[in-house]
């Protein structure tokens, strides 16, 4: 059997913020074409880990993106292969929705070149996928929090990167659009895109293929979302205050009162 292709590999990664170490030696790999969700209590280092994997933080240790050292990569080349959607990204109110999503095409454009026909198609597809197409002429300041989040999601999708890192992508989304997001991620992974997302809602996170459970700057478990060992690890890091049950063929997390 061939070894699976690894989209991201971390080897002994330490990250310090403001002089304090918040990630203590992370070693793990992400199989290409799968969706992994990262869960853990507040302050576990989930967002920091995601930022480190996006090359946005100075790290000690080694990170490989498809066998290339992330830190040594050309910035533009990295930006084409890896797309990042941050938490609470603030967009200035005056940019048009269309222009915001077009920013996602930047890694593929020359410095002063106008967007190509292909760029236009990609932007339109991304806007349609997140059902934000109707607002393309509006400025982003005119949108509600959830609508804005869908535009930013379209921006991240417009990069068409092989690896997508998303921090709390469901923030502000109402239930139907959360389900839409799940379907979009399924669609992305079916096209062999690797998706790694930090998710606060354990119930949503359980829909992923794999799960990374973090606590206090360590990865305490990595495994399939259907695996009972994963469920026990999640329950443990949340102090057994939640319980994971099966319901209609899906896994759900319920509060343990």
């Amino acid at each position: 059997m061939n070894a699976p292709l690894m989209a991201l590999r971390l080897r002994d990664v330490h990250v310090s913020l403001a002089g304090q170490e918040v990630l203590h030696g992370i070693d793990m790999s992400f199989v290409a074409g799968r969706w992994t969700s990262i869960v853990g209590p507040n302050g576990a280092g989930k967002s920091t880990l995601l930022k480190a994997m996006a090359g946005l933080l100075p790290v000690s240790g080694r990170i490989f993106l498809f066998d290339q050292a992330l830190m040594a990569m050309d910035q533009k080349q990295r930006a084409q292969q890896l797309s990042w959607l941050g938490q609470n990204e603030s967009a200035s109110d005056d940019l048009r929705v269309w222009d915001v999503v077009m920013l996602g095409r930047m890694p593929h454009q020359d410095w002063l070149a106008a967007p190509s026909a292909h760029d236009h198609v990609v932007v339109e597809t991304a806007l349609q996928a997140t059902q934000a197409w109707d607002w393309r002429e509006r400025s982003i300041g005119q949108l509600s929090g959830g609508e804005r989040q869908r535009v930013l999601l379209a921006r991240a999708m417009a990069v068409q990167a092989q690896v997508m890192l998303m921090d709390e992508p469901l923030a502000n989304l109402d239930p139907p659009h959360q389900v839409d997001w799940l379907e979009q991620v399924r669609c992305l992974t079916s096209q062999h895109t690797t998706v790694i997302s930090v998710l606060h809602e354990v119930g949503m996170a359980l829909h992923a293929d794999d799960m990374v459970v973090m606590q206090a700057g360590h990865v305490v478990h990595q495994g399939a979302c259907t695996d009972a060992a994963t469920h026990r690890a999640v329950e443990a890091v949340f102090d057994k205050r939640i319980a994971i049950h099966s319901l209609d063929g899906q896994w759900v997390a319920v509060p343990k009162l």
Binding site: K51, A54, G55, L56, Q75, K76, Q77, R78, A79, Q80, L82, S83, W84, G86, E89, S90, A91, S92, D94, L95, R96, D99, V100, L103, G104, M106, P107, W111, L112, R138, S139, Q142, L152, R155, V159
Partner: protein, 337 residues
């Protein structure tokens, strides 16, 4: 859709602003203590020609150029710091320029309204050097341009400290007080053709660089991490933009003193007309700043004619009033969408 929906195309706004500038400059050449007659007489009367060509025209063109520099700097500051309240004087350049002028006045005497070439050159030079040194000091205190908040704070600190030093000098040497006052209020009355050429050349350089780097400002509006994740060379571009900001502000301040609100109001006015990316934003803000200062200058010369008031007073009153109105309007439209 509300007024936000009915937007103008940037090209039309640019053309309208250009036409307004041309009209303003033409009108400016016809306004003054000798009135419109000088304009008619200019063809055969040498003195009248001199009044129009050597005094009124360079003053109007210069007001336009200085306003454009401030408008451009304002758009850059607001994009760079992602703060709609940022203005060109943010990095301490204003207080630096005042300190420079205070020092020059103390050393050489005289006042900024003096027409002697050397005195003028000395004062504008001192203002420019002061402005640039203040920005360098801000950068030094902020340890570079990486940290936006630190840069803003350092700018405030430098502004307060240098401003206090300038006040201290005027307190110790009351004879420079009047000259300082003239500079602090801002005035377009001593712009000659040399100054115009200088300002227009700097403007051209700054607009070209700002235009070329504008896509980074677009990306920055999504936050620093996103801009970095898009593979942009954020560090070097930021340094370049801060340099352009300092150069444009320093040049304008050196020639016209501290003209208030143009740099802050011009980008806001543009945004109320068009929603556009930063490439148009920097161009239109420059044009808008030019029209603003030109009209303020015309008003300042006409309101109390044949006397005139410092243009900075007018820009402060008009610009402040406009921003208040804008704030009020945006609050009421948000409350009732």
């Amino acid at each position: 859709m509300t007024a936000h929906g009915a937007r103008w195309s940037p090209v039309w706004v640019a053309l309208s602003l250009l036409v307004l500038s041309a009209l303003g400059i033409a009108l400016g050449s016809a306004v003054g203590s000798t009135g419109f007659e000088s304009w008619l007489a200019a063809v055969h009367d040498h003195t009248a020609w001199q009044i129009v060509w050597d005094i009124r025209l360079p003053r109007s063109v210069g007001a336009c150029a200085a306003g454009a520099l401030l408008g451009l700097a304002g758009a850059l500051a607001q994009g760079l710091f992602r703060n709609p309240l940022a203005d060109p004087y943010l990095l301490g350049s204003a207080s630096g320029a005042s300190l420079g002028v205070a020092v020059a006045l103390t050393l050489f005497g005289g006042n900024p309204f003096a027409t002697e070439f050397l005195v003028r050159l000395g004062l504008t030079g001192a203002a420019f050097v002061g402005a640039v040194l203040a920005v360098l000091l801000t950068l030094l205190l902020a340890r570079g341009v990486q940290h936006t908040l630190r840069l803003l704070l350092a700018g405030v600190i430098v502004g307060v400290v240098l401003g206090a030093l300038a006040s201290l000098i005027t307190l110790m040497r009351p004879d420079v007080l009047q000259g300082m006052q003239g500079f602090l209020l801002g005035s377009t009355s001593f712009i000659n053709w040399n100054a115009c050429v200088l300002m227009l050349s700097v403007l051209l350089v700054c607009v070209v660089i700002a235009f070329a780097l504008s896509r980074v400002l677009d990306a920055l509006s999504l936050g620093e991490s996103t801009a970095l994740s898009l593979g942009l060379p954020l560090g070097p571009v930021r340094v370049a933009l801060v340099c352009v900001l300092a150069l444009a502000t320093g040049t304008a301040v050196a020639q016209t003193g501290l003209v208030a609100f143009v740099g802050l109001a011009a980008p806001h006015l543009v945004r109320s007309l068009v929603k556009t990316k930063h490439n148009w934003m920097v161009l239109l803000s420059a044009l808008m700043g030019g029209v603003l200062l030109l009209s303020a200058d015309l008003l300042a010369r006409m309101l109390l004619s044949p006397q005139e008031m410092p243009v900075g007073v007018l820009t402060a009153v008009l610009g402040g009033g406009y921003l208040l109105w804008l704030m009020y309007r945006s609050q009421t439209t948000r409350a009732a969408p």
